[in-house]
Symmetry: C2
Subunit: 340 residues, 2 copies
């Protein structure tokens, strides 16, 4: 590889002069600049960012530590994150924890050895004390932004997250505003805090609207298309008079739509279906659904904004963003004679 030294020799100037030219320093004559520049191009010079970083003590490196890119819930967030970081001149390391604590610890230590200036982390959930590596991160004052719900031991770090309860409430309110009074809720797994928050939001909206909630309308579904399918089938069998369905996520909602149409129920003419839009991207989920899409894009931008302030020496800060309800050619007011 071509070094500054090589260019300097061929140009008959010092290394320093070449270095200054390539960084466009003001104290170099136009003449020298053009000569050195064309030589650099001709010789195919590629700067050595790491060597420069060693000298300047600034690596412009960031680390992303997530369970895995296979989880589509976070892909928008990651896109936005990388996009902003790239434009700001940072390069981003990608590491997967696979939800394994040892692997997370190992990955973080390796990134520290790379001298990353900051870290974006989706922590591996675990019980017990603060893991050693997290204590180390705090001690080293490494800028860290936690993405999404943070476990207990991450309280000291900055954080960006979605207001899931609020989004779910908004979704229910939307259905209520259309005139729906009996809304079935296909819930997720009870152990999931996020699923719980969505159920809570749903309940709060009902309460705020003065609607008695009927616990029979709440079904334990799960998180997949098939889970939604089965739950909706059961719902139809029980004939509870629901005119709308809200699902814990969009996959469950799609399953519900499948089940409904298979039973001759039209969507959304007869029954409205709404769900939290995590998994399927807008381009794919072209089914008659109303979704509360998590503002993942804005989340990514916010995360990078916070990172910048941390890098500038600012204190930890957290932000919770509201989701937006997106109505896709879809939700309808309750049909007069059709109930399930």
């Amino acid at each position: 590889m071509v070094r500054l030294k090589d260019i300097a020799e061929r140009a008959g100037v010092s290394i320093m002069t070449v270095s200054k030219v390539l960084r466009d320093a003001p104290d170099i004559s136009a003449n020298t600049k053009s000569r050195v520049r064309s030589l650099a191009t001709e010789m195919g010079y590629v700067p050595h960012a790491m060597a420069a970083g060693l000298r300047t003590r600034a690596t412009r490196l960031l680390g992303l530590v997530i369970p895995g890119v296979i989880n589509p819930v976070y892909s928008r967030l990651i896109m936005a994150l990388e996009d902003r970081a790239f434009d700001l001149g940072f390069d981003l390391f990608l590491t997967h924890t696979l939800e394994k604590p040892e692997r997370e610890e190992f990955a973080l230590r390796r990134l520290l050895a790379r001298r990353v200036e900051g870290l974006f982390v989706i922590p591996v959930p675990r019980l017990g004390d603060t893991p050693r590596i997290y204590a180390d991160l705090e001690r080293l004052r490494t800028p860290v932004v936690i993405l999404g719900p943070a476990p207990e031991f991450c309280q000291g770090f900055s954080r960006v997250a979605t207001d899931e309860l609020g989004a779910s409430r908004d979704l229910t309110q939307h259905l209520i505003s259309l005139g729906h009074r009996r809304i079935a809720f296909l819930a997720g797994h009870t152990v999931s805090p996020s699923a719980q928050a969505r159920l809570d939001g749903h309940r709060r909206a009902l309460r705020d609207a003065g609607i008695d909630h009927d616990d029979r309308l709440i079904f334990q579904a799960g998180t997949s298309i098939e889970d939604g399918f089965q739950a909706a089938l059961e719902l139809v069998r029980e004939s509870l008079g629901a005119t709308a369905i809200q699902a814990v996520n969009d996959l469950v909602a799609i399953g519900a739509v499948n089940a409904l149409v298979s039973q001759g129920v039209r969507v959304p003419e007869d029954v409205s279906v709404a769900g939290f839009g995590n998994i399927l991207t807008a381009e794919h989920a072209r089914v008659p659904l109303t979704t509360a899409r998590e503002p993942k894009f804005r989340l990514g931008v916010a995360a990078m904004e916070i990172m910048q302030r941390l890098l500038a020496g600012g204190p930890a800060e957290s932000r919770t963003l509201r989701a937006e309800v997106i109505v896709r050619k879809s939700t309808a007011p309750p049909a007069v004679n059709t109930m399930i």
Copy 2:
């Protein structure tokens, strides 16, 4: 940050000795080793990988240049890639091209400046001559593995890809083996080479089985759930006597299932539906579908294998992997009296 120098001073030995201890060199006394090691731990020493890399001229850095992690088609591949790279001690840069040539070029140049030892690239498709950056990569002899279908100007590089034609043919053969003779095909966009390959595979299977292909059974769909829905509706309207449907991908297939059940057609009892399994992960697509899943995991492993050989100085090599047909409680032989 603690440096070797700091440890050396406190331990009363030379920097060199500390360096050797931490790399577990054989020519250091057990005594010195344990003393220096405990001191390093106590002082919270974190090695400086970049400085070491500068000296050894080995960065153990790889770059991943893809359109965006939002595209679920490649997420499994990326998972496997990162996993293997990590275990082998490589750290991975993530950069998005967003399908923009300028951005791709810029990203690649930045990674070269980081002195990555190799690159995994999903190239931005473009017409015309070999882009400058690709010519540079060849000239620099940078180890590059192209992921997926490669444009003309990437012929010189290594490559891993799926045999899409073969997978589609396998899928059709599976349907044929169940007794289906009239199989509708919901095709993708004609400009997509990949969609074209899948159609070709379908046709070849029909021909090999001696089945006349009826062009009316081929529908232009697209790539989304909604596209599949519309195409299947039209299929039902036209009453062509199909007993099975094969879709260009799993989203289109799901849309088709939706459409069928909405028309009172049972799946898979009445009509079998099959599709290429790209988008939805196995955990999510729990609908009655048969899929030919691209062996993304194996693709990622293969990509890293090739990269290792390139790093060792080996020549460019390419591998095409077969997909596997996965039958999910799904495809059924043709029903006697039900045709669409």
